[in-house]
């Protein structure tokens, strides 16, 4: 797999990010439905941490507690992170190329990217079920980060759990072939 033509989009609204051409992890997972209560809470936490002006101040007590726990874990690295940074890259494999797009919660390009999650249970179970490692691997591959970290708040035990991701290409190679176009076009 090769990665090229990475472009960063600073200060890009989520709505505008959705309009960028490219295949994201969410595109591949194909979620299309009404967000659940848990997903809405996750969005609120994301907004509160990264785009506070978008936070609607619902579930404030829980949202702020979760945000504090996440920020405490990320600690000093937070101030070096670019928040909600969008990017696109050309992922190529076996003669096929796919325009990839991603949006990381926090990133120091070339060093580290992080993704926040609010989970109803254990991080390992959620990763097994939803393949979050592949999501973070996509961020890492596009931005040249040797490591990514999932920082997840487990609502069951009310604690932050973390998982360090060393990017894997396997999932993306498969999807380049599936969603990409012949490179020579």
């Amino acid at each position: 797999m090769t990665v090229g033509n990475t472009i960063y989009y600073e200060s890009l609204d989520f709505e505008k990010y959705l309009q960028i051409e490219g295949t994201s992890f969410s595109t591949i997972k194909g979620f299309d439905g009404v967000p659940s209560a848990g997903m809405r809470l996750g969005t609120r936490v994301h907004n509160y941490i990264s785009e506070p002006e978008k936070y609607d101040w619902q579930q404030a007590e829980e949202v702020r507690a979760i945000a504090s726990a996440i920020k405490k874990t990320v600690a000093a690295a937070l101030k070096f992170m670019k928040k909600e940074l969008s990017f696109t890259s050309d992922f190529s494999f076996n003669g096929m190329t796919m325009r990839y797009k991603g949006r990381a919660d926090g990133i120091i390009p070339g060093m580290l990217c992080i993704d926040y999650k609010v989970l109803s249970g254990d991080i390992e179970a959620a990763c097994d079920r939803f393949g979050y490692e592949n999501q973070v691997s996509g961020y890492c591959l596009a931005t040249g980060c040797p490591k990514g970290i999932i920082v997840a708040y487990n609502r069951k035990i009310k604690e932050v759990q973390t998982k360090v991701i060393t990017p894997s290409q396997e999932f993306w190679n498969y999807n380049i072939v599936r969603y990409g176009r012949p490179t020579f076009y």
Binding site: T73, V74, A75, A76, A77, K79, F80, I108, M111, L112, I114, K147, I149, V151, T162, K163, V164
Partner: protein, 357 residues
């Protein structure tokens, strides 16, 4: 006899004596029900006449109360038999099995608590060791970053200092070649001290050796290589020493500042990764609650009521009563205990105990 025959025919698995007893009970129930209905009507009849005086009214009401009381006594004669012979014996097993009084349950519960505490202690020790391992690894990595940054800054500072000194002394032909040797004599800063609480010396050495060290020789060679670049305009700078020195110092300050920012970033990222990688063993759950110690005294009851009233705005989620009129002091104490468990609140005049489950 026919009724008994019919019953025993239907319930063939019932012993005859038991079938007869149930039949007798059914018959008695019917008789009692009929009698109660008759007495109820009689009671109501007592209030029907239109009395003329309050004395007549009071006599009627007294008769009514007496009849009602007799009705109640009559009913209890029958229902107490059922309670005593049927309901109470059926509830006995629940009483014997109650988790708060069953000795075997209590013994097992205590044993579970002891085992969970032991397991939690073991897990805490492992977690503490894992954390110290991660802390030490982070410490070494960050020290390497710091030392490399300081070494670079020191080399740069020395070059700038010599540059300024030679300019100030009007040295026309500075011995630039000797500067490389001077730089080589500069010592690499020492690594800081880490005080272990759990790690063995052998393991610390192993961790230390596993972490790549900065390329100090490369840093020195880079600094030595930069000397020619710094001194490239020396002859021209002699004509304008102060400005040249100021410029060089400014360049050095900017470089140091950039390096410090890079250092802070590297250290923050290293620390975050190490924290995220630290393996934490899940500890068994030990539920800790706080309970108000019950004291059978008027003073205790007053203290509970006072604390309840003071904290009432915060207690609503702990109070589960169908009727506020029946809220007991025991229930108030329970609500306060739950509140104290959650918040750590203490109440004047009430002693608390911590309970582990």
């Amino acid at each position: 006899m026919n009724e008994v025959m019919q019953l025993t025919t239907i319930q063939t698995d019932l012993p005859e004596r038991q079938a007869l007893a149930w039949l007798a009970l059914a018959k008695e129930k019917n008789e009692v029900t009929a009698e109660i209905s008759r007495r109820e009507l009689a009671c109501q009849q007592l209030l029907l006449p239109e009395p003329a005086t309050y004395q007549e009214i009071d006599t009627m009401l007294a008769s009514y109360r007496k009849a009602l009381s007799d009705l109640s006594d009559y009913r209890k004669e029958f229902t107490n038999k059922i309670t005593g012979a049927l309901i109470a014996p059926q509830m006995e097993p629940e009483k014997r099995l109650n988790e708060k009084t069953n000795p075997r349950y209590i013994e097992l519960s205590n044993r579970s608590l002891t085992l969970r505490k032991d397991e939690a202690d073991r897990a805490a020790k492992v977690n503490a060791l894992n954390k110290e391992r991660a802390d030490f690894k982070t410490f070494i990595q960050n020290e390497h970053f710091r030392i490399a940054a300081e070494y670079r800054a020191e080399l740069r500072k020395s070059i700038t200092a010599m540059y300024a000194a030679w300019l100030n002394d009007n040295v026309q032909e500075p011995a630039v070649d000797t500067l490389a040797d001077l730089l080589a004599k500069l010592e690499v800063p020492k690594i800081g001290k880490f005080t272990p609480a759990l790690l063995s010396r052998e393991e610390m050495i192993e961790i230390f050796n596993a972490i790549p060290k900065p390329d100090y020789a490369g840093i020195l060679a880079e600094a030595q290589g930069s000397v020619q670049e710094v001194f490239a305009n020396y002859t021209a700078d002699l004509k304008n020493k102060e400005a040249a020195i100021a410029h060089q110092q400014q360049q050095q300050a900017l470089a140091v500042q950039a390096e410090q920012e890079q250092l802070a970033q590297q250290q923050a990222v290293t620390t975050l990764i190490a924290t995220a990688e630290t393996v934490t063993i899940e500890t068994p759950k030990i539920k800790k609650t706080v309970e108000i110690i019950l004291v059978e005294s008027e003073g205790w009851a007053k203290a509970v009521m006072a604390a309840f009233i003071v904290n009432l705005p915060n207690l609503s989620k702990y109070i589960r009563v169908k009727s506020w009129a029946k809220l007991s002091i025991g229930q108030m104490a329970d609500a306060l205990s739950k509140y104290a468990t959650e918040t750590g609140e203490v109440f004047a005049g009430l002693e608390m105990k911590e309970v582990e489950k």
